[in-house]
Subunit: 241 residues, 6 copies
């Protein structure tokens, strides 16, 4: 299926989210030749860097530096570019300037598909903020009257990757993405993410379980690893899938 | 994308439903070489044959005969086979024998995809009954311990076609199916359906509106007609769609 | 507004439900000249007659007789006719014959409005069964091809009266019906219902609370008693109400 | 029913929304003698003025001027006054000053009924912002302790007009408003709205479809055009409607 | 906390469900001295005995025998009694006689707590049927007018155990039950269940994941294994838990 | 059950909310030795002080003073400490400084349980704002990288107390808290709240009704008064409750 090259944007509240939750999707897209751009709103420096803060003599500056390196390396392995907006986490702050930056990036990347967080996660309101920011920025980036160097974007699909506790977030699976072929790549990307090695086992197990579910939902028996995603907008297509 | 030939089952409460609501999906599948099988649970002889009953001297026998002819002709134009279970409508009755017949048909046809009604239509409980019957029969047809000549089926996707009043039925669109190329075929099939000519205009307009929505949701500008479908189970795939 | 006389059907799982939950609506309609017909599917003889069963020497025959008398008296006070289908309660059984009887009654009464139970009450599945039976019977009674002496019905609105534990049943109020003027009538009807005198206080208090809510939602300050109802279908109207 | 003259406020995110989505409701209210006040939060200058931006030499100033003229003319035809808050669109910004302006207008107009957007439209977050702003302003305008020249408002009903893609917004119809008599007026208002002539056909077709639905839901057969609205708060009334 | 001995009923559509989904809950209750009664509506002989059917020379009689042995052994290890209603699976049939049997069992066991399936599992309608049957039987068993040797039951809580694909069934966790101490017992029970050894690993992993979630939700760090349950009715209590 | 002393935080949009909606919960916790801390975001000076504003010569300063006194007295009777953030009401404003104050308080109090408002109350958006603020502050207070004098908090449960119109707010009861023993205390606290004496009767009646519901849901017959609460996160436990 030699469909044309696409542009994919991954909109990640913290700099680790895209690896754990969408690493397989990124590697799959990159492998087939798509341009994949990860936008990290924050480094998760306060809320998702426990391992680093447990190290002696740790400072905010060092955490930010380390998290940037880890995410850059992981993205490179997965085959994606990175933009770090450094907006602060816990809570994530998106002011007008940051918002306009997001709009500009969407116009620059002209995505066919955007991956981001769910709308309502009771455990992590930064995720909700990322979701809302993305929907607003998508709307503005589509507006003909918002005039910038780059033209308006089309109507990219928005996929929401699986949250940590899906049954608490109203998450219903729309796509079980076969990531069998790229799982080694995702695993290597996860290994960049510092001390959180238990998370690697966690997300490996999750991929196996989603893979089993994929086969049970009619996928080929060759699937061993998968990722779950939910879809915000209808698919437009010519096949009954 | 020369994907393999598939089997599609359309599970229709009344003998007209499949034409109006899924005619484009059927013709699209048939055109690409799929086997499409329409199972009509009833002829809609009591609840959906107003035109016929308004004719003088009409009898139940004549209505059943006429509805069978119309549906057979429409299915032929769309490229689908037909099974008529003649279970009675308003209300639809599915007894054990009828249920087993449905299971046998699913096993005979081994569908990759099934199209049927939504789960909750306050206006038409026959539609709900069809939905529930399909989900149960799908489950039984999958069971290894239910032993019949034909083997168990896999895990076919279930698509729900658009109900008449979608916003009253909790219908949320998952697939905007491009039916531009087959719309003439659907129109000819609709023209088989007796006196209900205003419905032809209605469903033509709906197809145009869904086509516009498809383009706005990122489909190619060449789309002029579409059908909306909702999906019950997650898609298993290797692309972010 | 001297609008024309209407026909109202109240579809009650047990013979007490219509008094407690819709007595104000019935009296209001009767007072303005509407024909109100209460259809009791059962006498609530097993599940809602605790007071009677606590009396010594009580038998099923006596319970049925007493419950019929009570409901007949209450309906008379409210201004409604009664049909008792005596289908048994806990659980309520609706076989084909009973179902056809319901359809016949709907066609005989040609209701503009139907009052019944909510769709999902986890405490009382007889209520759900009444709701489902009503929706099915309404559909059949509308069908031109279902030929009976009486003609098909139109498209009566279905109002759901307030369940005992509204927040457990997904009940959302659509109508706060002012029953101030008829509350004495409702109270007298409630007093027919045997030993359950604490229920009279309960439903009096509820009416007062709903009355307060009515005023707070913009009703005239003269409202002292109200009943809450939810609506299944959209209203058709010429005013923004 | 010679009920008294009422005050209606229409709260529109962009200066076109009120015409397309609520024009029939406005004309209906105005025709019966109500005071109707349209509050436009923005001119939709960036997001909903594609036709203007496609014209050569277009500037923001000209767009704003043109959109103001169009909306003023349309409102005049419909029979409503206009307030333009000019808060900017895509995204809509409501700062404290603007918010207080909205509260002041609500107190000045003392509405019985307010029309606005739905709570959750994934395509257009300006609509959500308008909904949230309205609910907040309504709350403040009701507060006795918020002291202004005009007194607190009562408890106006909030109706939500039909969004462009209702099944994606959780829109469920509560009111099918008969706009048959005023449809010509709505059409003339729509014709003020510049180059978007395809929208006129679109909303004419929608009105016809909603009209058919109104008849099917029990409205008089004379209805040919209708608008769908959802209701946020319960109705308070003395009739079972 | 030496609270009194309780009666727990586990209502299982197929004879394996109670082991996999509620084995920890059963062992926990039994260990503290509660009486635990498992009611198996069917043996899952057609739909959940793939391993057996793959063996040569397998017959329905042998499957039923084997499944009964396995479930009996597992229940014994967990500390529960068993009732096998043998109603057939795929689909599960509950006729009036079977229904009355269920009511009789509930009255005989006088449960404080009942565990069963969720209300809506699109993959397995037998689970839904078990849920509905339980709610109805609970209602009848509560009715004073339903006169049997055993007295009416009280108002037992209904817990729903975790379905196989929780995010597809609208499952939201209300209780993370600490099963750390009894997990070995659950594991031994699982090992009785024939060839399905991969399921043992699956449910062990799930218990570990739910254990981690329990700690993250504020449970003691000693928790290593847990089960997720949802609650249908409110808890009545004197503590804020 | 001599369980250890806990810390409870009550997060109240206006200074009266905690008394009416959670007074029983507070007194129950205090009585068993817990530390209970009430955080009032505002005094409800504009929106919930009608009685005061009706007095001649009333000024904002006097209202604030009076409301502070009332809430302080009520909290003292209930056994709770108070923090008044004085952020203004109708609408409630939570800027960065206020938000950080909330985080600091959560870290200082290290709550096991937090009580607050529901997520979506169409009548009162200050309540929603309090809910959202609490969830965000809880998240930040948990973050290891947010470094303050006090350590991060654990994972306190969040209970939502009953809103005024529960069925309009999607409120579903999870806990019926027995407040029989402390109801006199709650009543005395309510009597501190100024002229709103009808509210005392209202909340007394509500407590009685919830008490009846508690008994019907299986609580001991000794319960005469209860409060309804909903739970946001799963309970972690070792018993099937």
């Amino acid at each position: 299926m030699a469909s044309e090259k696409k542009s994919v944007v991954v909109f990640s509240a913290h700099s680790g989210d895209f690896v754990w939750r969408a690493g397989g999707a990124i590697a799959t897209a990159a492998q087939r030749g798509d341009d994949v751009h990860v936008i990290c709103l924050s480094f998760g420096e306060r809320g998702e860097s426990q391992g680093l803060w447990r190290q002696e003599g740790m400072t905010m500056e060092k955490v930010l530096q380390k998290r940037r390196e880890e995410a850059t390396n992981a993205a490179e392995i997965l085959g994606a570019s990175t933009d770090f907006l450094d907006l602060g986490d816990y809570p994530l702050h998106v002011d007008d300037e940051a918002f306009n930056r997001v709009v500009d990036l969407l116009r620059a990347y002209q995505p066919h598909t955007i991956l981001t967080h769910v709308a309502n996660d009771p455990y992590n309101r930064d995720h909700n903020m990322a979701h809302e920011t993305l929907l607003r920025a998508r709307m503005v980036a589509q507006a003909m009257g918002h005039q910038t160097e780059n033209p308006p974007i089309g109507a990219p699909q928005v996929l929401m990757f699986e949250p940590h506790q899906p049954e608490m977030c109203g998450f219903s699976v729309d796509l079980l993405l076969d990531i069998t072929e790229v799982f080694d790549t995702k695993r290597r990307a996860m290994e960049c993410m510092g001390a959180q090695s238990h998370l690697i086992e966690y997300y490996t197990d999750l991929a196996v379980r989603r893979g089993v579910q994929a086969v049970r939902n009619g996928g080929p028996k060759s699937i061993t690893h998968a990722e779950a995603h939910a879809r915000l907008f209808p698919v437009v297509g010519r096949e009954l899938v």
